[in-house]
Symmetry: C2
Subunit: 344 residues, 2 copies
Amino acid sequence: MVRRSATGRIGIADVAVKAGVSHATVSRVMNGNFTVDPDIAARVRAAAAELKYQPNPVGRSLALGKTDTIGIVVPDLANPTFQAILRGLSRAAAQDGYRVLIADSFEVSSEEAILAGEARRRCDGLVLCAPRMSDAELEEIAPSLRPLVLINRTTDADDIPSLVVDYGQGVQDIAEHLVELGHTRLAFLSGPPRSASNGLRLQGLEAFKAAHPQVEVRMLEGGSDFDTGHGAVDAVLESGATGILAFNDLVAMGLMSGLHERGLQVPGDISVTGFDDIPFAKYTTPALTTAAVPITELGEQAWHQLRALIRKEDNDAPGSRYQPRLEVRASTGPAKAPRQAVHG
Amino acid sequence: MVRRSATGRIGIADVAVKAGVSHATVSRVMNGNFTVDPDIAARVRAAAAELKYQPNPVGRSLALGKTDTIGIVVPDLANPTFQAILRGLSRAAAQDGYRVLIADSFEVSSEEAILAGEARRRCDGLVLCAPRMSDAELEEIAPSLRPLVLINRTTDADDIPSLVVDYGQGVQDIAEHLVELGHTRLAFLSGPPRSASNGLRLQGLEAFKAAHPQVEVRMLEGGSDFDTGHGAVDAVLESGATGILAFNDLVAMGLMSGLHERGLQVPGDISVTGFDDIPFAKYTTPALTTAAVPITELGEQAWHQLRALIRKEDNDAPGSRYQPRLEVRASTGPAKAPRQAVHG
DNA sequence: GCGATCTGAGAAAACGCTTTCTCGCCGGGC
DNA sequence: GCCCGGCGAGAAAGCGTTTTCTCAGATCGC
């Protein structure tokens, strides 16, 4: 007869009774402690199997002071970039027996700090993606979130690894590519104003402009999704630019779609580039020229960094910098003769 | 001076000491119990604020017997369908103060049962997406996972809600649409052989064939990703079909890409349809005709069903059936005169 | 003014596990 | 034959909360 504890689930006590031993011994057996007599161990295992006993993780967590779970805070689960980070993180962590708790802030950056704190307390460590959070706030909450790994953000604390993508370099590589194709009028369809990675792109473009004074680079307001790109067609045409650097692949795809609707050819009339190299980028028509970011690998690395922190290992490489790789596809081509600006 | 418990984090005991009250009183204050003297409550709150005390969720979970967390088991986080379910689920659950723990089985269905059990024990409930699991195994493990909500699977137990998409009807709607455009030779680029939703599609096509004996419907082997579609071009051309029903949007996009490379026009030469209406479907060129599944809403509903179970509410609508909506875009068009089968 | 009632806070048990502490028992050494 | 060391298992003390139980003190009624 299976005795049931108050909660209705069988616990260590039930196994102990059935095997005629103490709680402690059951625990020892379940944890592979070899100081227990083989006969008794077998009896305990038999009892556990018969009762289908599975240790309660909450009890274990409390006793051990660890949850075997890590958290990840993302601003938007709909964004392929964060999906890819999550995927890489989850896969890598799973291989070490860790689970991932997700905290989606839905772009409400005012909630991010609280959300991060709550997630952290349930986990052994945290990966934070908070592109819109202010530096000041980040600096303030980061210490309390340790062990912590930052994605595309940095902090002064030296035990908080940062995994950053060199967006500045990537955007310069793309611009170079367009210039080599003969484009002299470029436009950057920028991302969300407060986005940290957008700031890096802008810095990169400043460096580019300094190095290429003969090239015109217009800055256009933007965002980070399809609709931004789709809605930016007028602004793009008005700019008179022949080479467009979209904030990311989503924006680029939206833009290409909008241009297509207007009967414009890509890259015949206008060259378009993205950023990130999301899985869909190579399947657009024309296939999108973009800067490939090894984003799943970044998620994986995030876990490795976090694992080192959790295990208190010496981390020889605290944080890393990822270089995007220019991926030339069919959405960029030689520049046409300069067009006149279109009047809306 | 801030006293620190053994773990280095401040606990309820520190607040109690600082406020000069007992643990119990601190707990009462933190949980909004009004049987405590306002003066003392204020003192406790001040102490808590000063120490930045935040209750340890693991301790709470153990005492309360709940974790305010739900789990979701998905076969592949890279699949947009499961990403969308996760997103809807996460958003809905977050509004009720619940978090989501993810368990990615990476298509290793032999691990699914164990994974699901482990996830369940850490959570208050589970959402299970296991399209490849056998009916027998599902039936066996489902009871032990309660509260449980199934996605696109059903079970005999009546307290396990199932949210199923009517793939059979959806595929029939698509086929009807193609027939109306004059196609008489169709081909179904099927999904993974053991996939439950693929089975439903096949059933739907059988019903369709029975109702339209004059239409030829070929079955082609397939899969569920881009590469499947891209690699199926030869088989599709050999079939001589002019209307292709791809298993899902990913396969359809891969196929369109492959056809494009061969210089074939969509829909001029061949009409292609997808399934799911993932966000990218409307941005392909040509935009993809597909059957739209309200998949994010499905994730949201999964939470509502699970919430009812967790709260032990009477659930008036245990499970629901979702009808896909035909979304006619530019990838389907009138049939050409029947082509001869191409010899590879 | 005294007993009954009620309020509010502390003591302690409970949640389910791990782990230290303790102790009985056995074997070996002298 | 006795003592000591070591081994193995039970008792008990945590882990950090919540909640029941208990009881002191205050309030009320008569």
